[in-house]
């Protein structure tokens, strides 16, 4: 059997009484364009954090590129790139320096590094601002820089946690088309989350929907629509997860999570 890009078996993350991720299992095939959808606080980011070795699972198993995320974290790290949901740039450095440090950390050889940095900064329209400090950037510019940074190297698997948040439609299309092209040409597996359902509908070939820490739907776009007897992924999503707003719960969960974490620490 061919190795999967991502294999998740009964993965759990509990914080005291909160079950952020409660036994999810799914596979992502190599070359998939995989959308991981769910309301706020459903467990999307927590799952991504476990897959990218930032958080240890409470229980269960996860393999990325055939490597176990707890036993061979280093092996896992070599195989993916990521755009985080929240910021991860150094504001005190220039755009170019942020790119440069990333390039060195990912061991991209000098000449190629220079070329790629220039190419990606031009791609996101920040080349003329390359020597400006990131702290002078707007939210959208920072976002673009983070995406450019993640794409300096072509990872086997690319995680994108709400990558297009706060970007205008032009930039969004521009970026998605580029990622799609990498997916097609280089066979790069893409694992992304978004609240823009049309993005999932348009680009993903497979979708998983998570709610309250559990996977409640899984399949191709057509399969999910068929199963829920809906016309769009947005309708399917609302049908599966309900119309009530989760924001309150999401944030109180975050607060509890933070509390659970700070207990026993300083």
């Amino acid at each position: 059997m061919e190795e999967k890009a991502i294999e998740v078996k009964d993965l759990k993350k509990y914080y005291k009484s909160i079950k952020a991720v409660d036994g999810v299992s799914f596979n992502v095939e190599k070359g998939d364009f995989f959308a991981f959808l769910g309301p706020n606080g459903a467990g999307k980011t927590t799952t991504i954090k476990m897959l990218t070795t930032l958080l240890n699972p409470t229980d269960g198993e996860a393999r990325v590129n055939g490597k176990d995320v707890t036993k061979d974290a280093f092996g896992v790290r070599k195989s993916f790139g990521i755009v985080f949901q929240d910021q991860s740039l150094d504001n005190e450095l220039t755009a170019y320096e942020n790119m440069y440090f990333h390039g060195v950390l990912y061991r991209i050889e000098r000449k190629l590094r220079k070329e790629k940095i220039e190419k990606m900064l031009k791609f996101v329209g920040l080349w003329d601002r390359k020597d400006s400090f990131v702290k002078t950037f707007s939210g959208g510019m920072k976002r673009r820089l983070e995406i450019a940074r993640a794409l300096i190297h072509t990872p086997q698997i690319l995680f994108l946690d709400e990558p297009t948040l706060g970007l205008d439609p032009q930039t969004r299309n521009h970026i998605w088309n580029y990622v799609k092209e990498l997916n097609k040409k280089e066979g790069m597996t893409v694992f992304f989350t978004t609240h823009a359902m049309e993005e999932a509908e348009k680009y993903a070939n497979k979708i998983a929907i998570i709610d309250y820490g559990k996977i409640i739907a899984f399949g191709t776009v057509a399969e999910i629509k068929k199963k829920t007897r809906t016309k769009t992924i947005e309708e399917a999503f609302l049908k599966l997860t309900g119309h009530s707003i989760r924001k309150e719960e999401g944030s109180s969960k975050d607060r509890l999570r933070a509390q659970a974490k700070s207990w026993g620490r300083m």
């Binding site: 930032l54 958080l55 993916f80 929240d86 005190e92 950390l105 990912y106 061991r107 620490r265």
Partner: protein, 248 residues
């Protein structure tokens, strides 16, 4: 080791760019040097101790190194808050290498700050016993810098934000400094204080610096060196271990 290098370089860039912070962290040691040095100078001389500035200067340099190093290490908390820590943690670089880069970065900045304060002491009237020993003095600064950067990282790994910072400052860093013999001779102290001082690793750093710069030693150079190297290693290993377990 490219990863360690690049993180080291990042710290230096940040240091050079934050001029205000640089000046801010130099204010305190210079104030101590001038106020205590000249304030207690006459009494010290009357008690037969000689020139207090000669005694105090190495202690103030050690203080500068201590504070700079701990703060550099604790910057990890800041990295966590701005999210940059995640970027380094998912990179295909071992935790050990990240820790090494951070520690060397902190130690390098500490030496630079120590050197600046050393120049200030010269202005105030301090004269080292022998200039030949100067490289050894810088070696001590480097080791103290490593020790306490690693210490700072170890603390930072257990903190979510800066809220506990005043506690760390007042209950760990300040006692380390005040009970190290940086400001007063360790000879003839009450027994309890002697015991506490001899368990304080900074005491050996201060003593080593004083030996190399002024030529006065309490523990002896050999013991100073061994303890400082040993504790630096222990803190480095401890910090590396804590850092390897960090989750964000």
């Amino acid at each position: 080791m490219r990863g360690a290098y690049v993180l080291w370089r990042r710290q230096l860039i940040r240091y050079v760019r934050s001029r205000w912070r640089m000046i801010g962290t130099l204010g305190q040691p210079i104030l101590f040097l001038v106020a205590l040095g000249f304030g207690f100078g006459p009494i010290y001389a009357k008690a037969g101790g000689g020139d207090f500035i000669q005694f105090l200067a190495p202690g103030i340099i050690a203080m500068t190194v201590l504070f700079t190093a701990v703060f550099s290490g604790m910057e990890t908390i800041w990295d966590r808050q701005i999210g940059f820590l995640k970027e380094t943690l998912v990179a295909p670089v071992s935790r050990f290498e990240i820790m090494l880069g951070k520690t060397l970065g902190g130690a390098t900045i500490s030496i630079v700050q120590g050197a600046i304060v050393f120049l200030v002491t010269l202005v105030v009237g301090y004269r080292p016993e022998s200039w030949i020993m100067l490289p050894l003095a810088f070696l001590f600064m480097f080791l103290i810098g490593m020790m306490f950067t690693a210490f700072g990282v170890a603390i930072a790994c257990n903190m979510e934000d800066m809220q506990a910072f005043p506690i760390i400052l007042n209950f760990m860093i300040m006692p380390l400094f005040f009970l190290s013999g940086a400001l007063y001779p360790l000879e003839g102290l009450p027994k309890t204080l002697t015991i506490i001082s001899s368990f304080n690793p900074l005491s050996y750093g201060v003593d080593g610096l004083r030996q190399t710069l002024t030529g006065i030693s309490y523990f002896g150079f050999g013991l100073d060196f061994v303890v400082v190297v040993f504790v630096s290693l222990v803190f480095f290993i401890l910090g590396s271990y804590m850092f390897s377990r960090v989750q964000v």
